[in-house]
């Protein structure tokens, strides 16, 4: 993965830049010592590492604004960072960029139960929002697996999902407003406390923009009443085809489960060996279906799902009868990733989404690829929405295996796009999938996205090298190519 060439002029100004940052943020808020920069050199995509020029940890909006304004004026790049749990390298530092850590923005600003919203600073963790409102019977719906550590600001950047997003949506569907600082230091608010924005839905573009458009300093999220009950079914199938058909039939039957997860045989066996929760070991596909809502609804739907499962040839089906049992069903799924550690020293987690109807075909082709690459793959899916998490097993100490695993992963994502799906369902593009973007988008498609970047950050100083495979200058993108004839006054600047 090639990152933008570091700007030597900026590198040579390091002492001056650090001094300037210290004049804005005092004391330990600026980190410049090489050893102290070490913890910041990567996020959760640990294959890529690069210490930043310096780290700055502001505590106020005014400091964020001053830092960005100065960097903007001086042409210094900035990489924003939340909790550093990105799986796609969204917070990977650059040698010539200031890393702007938002961890100190950790306050809950306001809770309003009547309007069902919470106003929080971006460094608050995802789970902390739920912890703050749960005594009043509420929760924050998006629940990425890293929710104990990941921050709301990072969730905004990545448009994070979780196992419940089939029913409750991604971050974008649960956010009402943000305060952001633009790269030139200007502080603006997008959205607010009402359901629709006054003008263009710029909030909708900022969510999922992977830290390229602005630095979020405050977030207003919707909170929901916690469902009265949740029950889960654990269903085993003799084939992936039957499990997939069961998923399709549940949805076609008008049921949107709170979560619907599938694991293949390898993932199931590894998880069971890891946590021993009673997963059946003789099935090709295991389905966890969670239903939530009033008790009467859960009971009714559990029975309906069981009928659908039986129609599709389920060989085992258990319905949770207690909260402990429901959590046990989930324990194996949640341990699926660490469980891979028993099978191989390393694994590489992919994140494509496909139309669900293509699932059996995609799994068959993935099995062929697994053979030709000589690397095993275990599969864990958010089956309800077709979001695949193939886990490619490899050993980084075997020469060439990392590269093989990455090539295998890229082939899987190409396959996802080929069957009508996408490169990433919830982990983001970052640096990881940056160079695959042309598989899914034409040059014109990407240019239309990049011009939004130009509207927010015309000098391209914020988080460069992420998402877009080619860094076009904004002036170059602004040129008009009108089909069928020349523009009048072609020499006039259009920006």
């Amino acid at each position: 993965m090639k990152m933008p060439e570091p700007d030597q002029a900026v590198l040579s100004r390091r002492a001056e830049i650090v001094a300037r940052l210290r004049s804005i943020v005092s004391g330990e808020g600026v980190i410049a010592d090489p050893d102290a920069l070490k913890p910041y050199e990567t996020d959760s995509l640990t294959a890529y590492r690069q210490p930043p020029l310096a780290v700055v940890l502001p505590e106020t909006v005014e400091q964020v604004s001053a830092i960005l304004a100065w960097c903007h004026a001086e042409g210094v790049k900035v990489v924003p960072r939340g909790a550093g749990t990105s799986l796609s390298g969204g917070a990977l530092p650059l040698a010539d960029a200031v890393l702007l850590g938002m961890a100190k923005f950790n306050q809950i600003v306001d809770i309003n139960y009547d309007d069902r919203l919470a106003v929080v600073q971006p460094g608050v963790t995802n789970l902390a929002v739920t912890r703050t409102v749960e005594d009043a019977g509420f929760y924050y719906a998006p629940d990425p697996s890293s929710q104990i550590a990941c921050s709301i600001g990072g969730n905004i950047a990545e448009n994070s999902g979780g196992v419940h997003c089939l029913k409750y949506g991604l971050t974008t569907n649960n956010v009402l407003g943000v305060q952001i600082v633009m790269m030139d230091g200007e502080v603006i608010r997008l959205g607010g406390r009402s359901l629709d924005p006054a003008g263009l839905d710029l909030l909708g573009v900022v969510v999922g923009s992977e830290g390229l458009l602005g630095v979020v300093t405050e977030v207003t999220v919707r909170i929901l009443p916690k469902p009265q009950t949740a029950r889960a079914l654990l269903i085993g199938f003799p084939s992936v085809e039957q499990a997939s058909q069961c998923v399709a039939d549940v949805i076609a039957g008008g049921i949107i489960p709170a979560g619907m997860e599938m694991m293949d045989k390898l993932a199931t066996q590894a998880a069971e060996a890891f946590v021993q929760v009673g997963y059946p070991l003789d099935v090709e596909a295991l389905l966890i279906v969670e239903l939530d809502g009033p008790q009467a609804e859960c009971d009714h739907l559990c029975a309906e799902v069981q009928t659908i499962a039986n129609t599709n040839g389920a060989v085992s089906c258990r319905t949770s009868t207690s909260e402990a049992e429901r959590l046990a069903f989930w324990a194996g799924r949640k341990a699926a990733f660490p469980a891979m550690g028993r099978l191989a020293p390393d694994f590489y987690c992919m994140d494509g989404t496909i139309p669900r109807r293509r699932m059996p075909e995609v799994l068959a082709r993935m099995a062929e690829m697994s053979k030709s690459y000589g690397l095993a793959v275990a599969n864990v899916f958010h089956a309800g929405d077709g979001n695949l998490h193939p886990l490619i097993l490899y050993d980084v100490n075997q020469p060439g295996q990392l590269e093989q695993a990455e090539a295998f992963g890229s082939d899987i994502l190409r396959l996802c796009v080929e069957v009508g799906g996408v490169l990433t369902g919830e982990h983001g593009v970052g640096v990881e999938k940056r160079d695959l973007m042309p598989v899914m988008f034409s040059e014109a498609d990407l240019a239309h996205q990049q011009r939004i970047k130009c509207a927010f950050d015309p000098k391209l100083l914020l988080n460069p090298g992420k998402v877009f495979p080619v860094l076009h200058r904004c002036a170059e993108l602004g040129r008009m190519h009108i089909h069928g004839g020349a523009l009048p006054f072609p020499d006039l600047p259009r920006f």
Binding site: L195, G254, E297, R357, D385, M480
Partner: protein, 394 residues
């Protein structure tokens, strides 16, 4: 308005040509679906780019929860299609024709999305923005591009579909849309409480929305519009046993507000239809659509009632539809004071000429919005003056 129509395009290349011609002629172009909302915004006479030729349903697989259709497909066609599979567009879009004095049936799916239209279920099921998964379109640059995707879960690249919803034809002409569809509740019930004041009603609706009853829609008609006592209506939808259980939950949650009744299907149908047609606010008085946090809605209407405002609440108080034959600045000031914003939906031409349909933005946001518009439409070919945008673009 006596705008001329260009030849009706039927392919993306036709649209590209029409836009390229307009750019070359330095002339504006108005993108139009069925024209049901043409009376929103300032009078203008830009030639019409009629998208109604893009009227085919391209793909619909109910089990995938995804539907792809041409932008000019009538909303009624799509609604009937998904209903035949016991599904729905969960944001409950509706046809603005009748409330703007036109016949029903002209609204297209592209127009509904471009105007960000969402009905009573918006409060629980999300808005137009939440159900547009992807689109194909032609920008003001005369270039075809795609954005988003045709699967329900995707974070690849910027989320341009969010921008499309509520863009009012100012960025690009959508030719094809992919929408998320959802199962329709098999049963529905509407619980009511009569005689509440606006403040009590908003408190009651907040209590219901904050309960575990999973209320799908909540609305309030004051006594003046309800024909007798004021009406607070709460709708639940879903499977039979669930609907029954949730009505019981609403009764318990609202016990302190008074007796909770249930209305029959015909009465319930009329209540929710009134929220779509806005029949209670029919007439010629200027009609405003004001979005606020629910808790500030009572103060909003209290500020405007002395000037003759008629109004009703949807979205548990988060949306106020209001008529006021008076100073528009007063409405905008009251909306802002309530932490919200007001769209002028229906008004005489003379008023629309002066009063922008969309609520003015803070300076920084307005400038950013103008830059984003110029990113898609550098020559302002879609700036017809409808949103007074020519004045603030440069």
């Amino acid at each position: 308005m006596n705008a001329s129509s260009l030849p009706k395009p039927s392919t993306s290349n036709d649209v590209i040509d029409a836009i390229a011609d307009a750019v070359r002629a330095d002339a504006p172009l108005e993108i139009r679906g069925g024209g049901s909302k043409a009376a929103i915004g300032a009078p203008r006479n830009a030639p019409i780019l009629d998208m109604s030729g893009f009227d085919a349903v391209i793909d619909y697989d109910p089990a995938e929860l995804v539907l792809t259709a041409g932008a000019g497909t009538p909303l009624s066609v799509i609604s009937a299609l998904v209903e035949s599979e016991n599904q729905m567009l969960a944001f409950e879009p509706f046809d603005h024709g009748p409330l703007l004095g036109q016949v029903a049936g002209a609204a297209t799916i592209g127009g509904v999305i471009a105007a960000g239209v969402a009905g009573s279920r918006r409060v629980s099921g999300g808005g137009a923005r939440d159900h547009l998964l992807g689109f194909e379109g032609i920008s003001g640059r005369g270039e075809r591009f795609v954005a988003g995707a045709k699967v329900v879960k995707n974070v690849t690249g910027y989320d341009l579909p969010k921008l499309a919803a509520g863009s009012w034809g100012r960025l690009f002409a959508m030719t094809q849309l992919t929408l998320k569809v959802l199962p329709r509740g098999r049963e529905s019930a509407t619980c009511i409480v009569e005689g509440l004041s606006p403040t009590q009603a908003v408190a009651a609706m907040a209590r219901a929305m904050g309960s575990q009853a999973d209320v799908s829609a909540a609305a309030y008609l004051p006594a003046a519009l309800a024909g007798g006592a004021s009406l607070t209506a709460l709708r639940v939808e879903g499977f039979g046993p669930s609907v029954a259980a949730r009505c019981t939950m609403i009764e318990a949650a609202l016990a302190e507000f008074g007796a909770v009744g249930r209305v029959d299907a015909a009465t319930a149908g009329k209540v929710w239809a009134d929220l779509r047609t806005l029949a209670p606010l029919a007439g010629t008085a200027p009609l405003w659509r004001i979005a606020t946090p629910p808790s500030t809605a009572p103060s909003l209407v209290a500020a405007l009632e002395p000037f003759g405002a008629q109004w009703l609440f949807d979205w548990a108080g988060g949306l106020t539809w209001l008529t006021l034959d008076g100073d528009p600045a007063r409405v905008r000031a009251a909306a802002a004071a309530a932490s919200g914003h007001a769209i002028l939906v229906r008004a005489p031409e003379a008023m629309r000429r002066i009063v922008p349909a969309l609520h003015p933005q803070a300076n920084g946001v307005a400038a950013l919005e103008a830059r984003v518009r110029r990113a898609f439409d550098p020559n302002g070919v879609f700036e017809t003056g409808r949103f007074h945008e020519v004045a603030n673009a440069n």
